[in-house]
């Protein structure tokens, strides 16, 4: 599919209440379907809310698992693709948890991405609770090649770059960004789209959780960096925009960043990072 609608759904989550959050997601899915969306995106850890601390151990689930099965049923019934965030419990241990984005399609579970860069500074404590993911992955779907990243991953251009080099046409960045960081994300999301000549959908959490105010402002960005559609700041809101992959080619020809890549310097990047 070259052209489809995408619903960006910034929602306020009920902290530590999966049932309530699934119910809310389901309502938005129906609304998105009514607006002809083929893909709906929810924020990082939308299943549980972001601020969980020690409660995360009882909320994390394996993937696939009960929640993913529920979301599969909804995706099938509504004939829609869904991306949402949840704490993922390792199948092999009882307390190894990942901060994961899940993609389900009308045909069922497609795949997951485990957040690679876990913020553990300022108000963030992610390394205390999560194990990091190891691999950016692109998923082949009926909606083209989709790559996922999560929040702080957007600060590391390598993730988006690898996804693009794997062929991603659409990058979906789910996020739980507090208000003091808004200006970073407003710049970085546009930058990731431009430098990779790729569509980028950014969906942020919204509302207050334990004194952290998530700012919303979800947006769909064209490969040119143009913001095609943007949700409101600071309130729950769903917006629907159109992804049209035929818009990629003219931008790629105009700013051919992928053609001009210099692989020989990537080795240097690795060496210097190791010696920091």
């Amino acid at each position: 599919m070259k052209r489809f609608n995408i619903a960006l759904t910034q929602m306020t989550c009920t902290r530590a209440n999966k049932e309530a959050n699934i119910q809310k997601m389901e309502k938005y899915i129906q609304k998105a379907k009514a607006e002809n969306a083929s893909l709906i995106v929810f924020p990082e850890l939308a299943l549980t809310g972001y601020t969980l601390r020690d409660q995360i151990y009882e909320l994390a689930e394996t993937i696939p698992g009960p929640t993913v099965m529920t979301m599969e049923k909804i995706a099938k019934r509504e004939n829609i693709h869904i991306i949402f965030g949840m704490p993922e419990l390792s199948e092999k241990t009882q307390a190894v948890i990942y901060n994961t984005a899940v993609l389900v399609a009308p045909k069922g579970y497609v795949g997951k991405y485990r957040k690679m860069h876990l913020p553990t500074h300022s108000v963030f404590e992610e390394k205390r609770y999560f194990r990091q993911g190891y691999k950016p992955t692109v998923f082949e779907t009926e909606l083209g090649k989709v790559g996922m990243l999560i929040c702080y991953d957007a600060f590391f251009p390598e993730v988006s770059r690898i996804l693009r080099l794997e062929g991603a046409q659409l990058l979906v960045c789910i996020s739980a960004s507090p208000a003091v960081r808004r200006h970073f994300f407003e710049i970085l999301t546009v930058a990731r789209a431009i430098e990779n000549t790729v569509f980028l959908a950014y969906v942020n959490l919204v509302g207050l959780e334990n004194g952290l105010q998530f700012w919303g402002g979800s947006r769909l960005i064209a490969p040119s960096g143009k913001i095609l559609i943007q949700a409101k700041y600071n309130e729950e809101h769903m917006v629907v925009g159109t992804v049209d992959y035929s818009d990629i080619k003219p931008v790629e020809a105009f700013v051919p960043t992928l053609r001009d890549l210099r692989p020989e310097i990537f080795q240097m990047l690795q060496e210097l990072s190791e010696k920091l």
């Binding site: 009882e58 300022s122 208000a179 003091v180 207050l208 334990n210 105010q213």
Partner: protein
């Protein structure tokens, strides 16, 4: 993991040594002259007062006995004095009734029937006396809250929990009993039912709806991430009761932390200033 009374057993000698070291270290690092404690004649305050004296010596510990008319109980006062005599620390007895009455009279919406708001005034008034002594004599306020009541939020916010150090806060009530016995707190104090004494006839286990022996095992299980289902099964309890205790533990977190701040700027008090009590 099996939830049996065995798992709550502590090594009282080693625990007492660590607590004594902690109290001594804190007084030294804060350059204070010692500690002041509120002593009620109950097990927690008796234990921590005794440990303070064993740690710092008699001259560096002051116990305030702060009775008031409504809950005045001669036995409790006798117990408080007995502990002070046994461990040889000074006590000052101050009746706080006039202060309480001043509050009752001057609060426009004061309701003499509603027990909790009224009772909390007493705990908070005692805090003011303790901090006066602490400020005036350069002392640390040494709190006596234990882990069971702290996890349950069974205390007065900014009242009895208000302190500079809380040496017993990581010991469940049943563990404080073991420690009390070891350091020689009189048996009659250890054996009597716990009460915050904010109103007449108030009893901790009655109010919490559970015996400490059971509560501590539930809390121990929750502390170690056990599910309520598993805890209820092992202790042969109703799952709803365990759920209720878990919910109360989680709901009371606001009483155990600084006021919730809103992240507005670069580094925020209560969020991402990560500093230590002593420098």
């Amino acid at each position: 993991m099996e939830l049996t009374p065995e798992i709550l057993k502590i090594n009282p000698a080693a625990t007492a040594e660590r607590i004594k070291m902690f109290i001594k270290d804190m007084v030294k690092k804060t350059e204070t002259n010692g500690v002041v404690l509120g002593i009620s004649g109950g097990i927690d305050s008796s234990t921590v007062a005794a440990l303070s004296t064993l740690s710092l010596g008699s001259e560096k510990v002051i116990g305030l006995i702060l009775p008031e008319d409504e809950t005045y109980n001669e036995t409790d006062i006798r117990h408080a004095k007995r502990v002070a005599e046994k461990f040889r620390f000074k006590t000052v007895e101050i009746t706080i009734t006039p202060v309480l009455e001043a509050y009752y009279k001057t609060i426009p919406i004061f309701d003499s029937v509603e027990k909790i708001s009224r009772g909390n005034i007493k705990a908070r008034a005692r805090m003011i006396y303790l901090y006066y002594y602490a400020n005036k004599l350069n002392l640390l306020v040494c709190g006596s809250s234990d882990k069971s009541e702290t996890m349950m939020g069974y205390f007065t916010k900014w009242g009895d929990v208000a302190a500079d150090i809380a040496p017993l806060m990581d010991l469940y009530k049943t563990q404080v009993r073991q420690l009390a016995k070891y350091i020689g707190v009189p048996d009659e104090i250890i054996a009597k039912p716990s009460s915050p004494n904010l109103w007449r006839g108030q009893l901790a286990e009655k109010e919490l709806g559970i015996k400490y022996e059971t509560l501590d095992l539930i809390l121990y299980g929750l502390e170690r991430f056990m599910s309520t289902k598993e805890i209820a099964k092992q202790l042969q309890l109703n799952k709803q009761l365990v759920e209720k205790i878990k919910k109360r533990w989680l709901r009371m977190e606001h009483k155990r932390q600084m006021p919730l701040s809103l992240k507005l700027t670069y580094r925020t008090v209560g969020k991402d200033f990560r500093l230590y009590h002593t420098q």
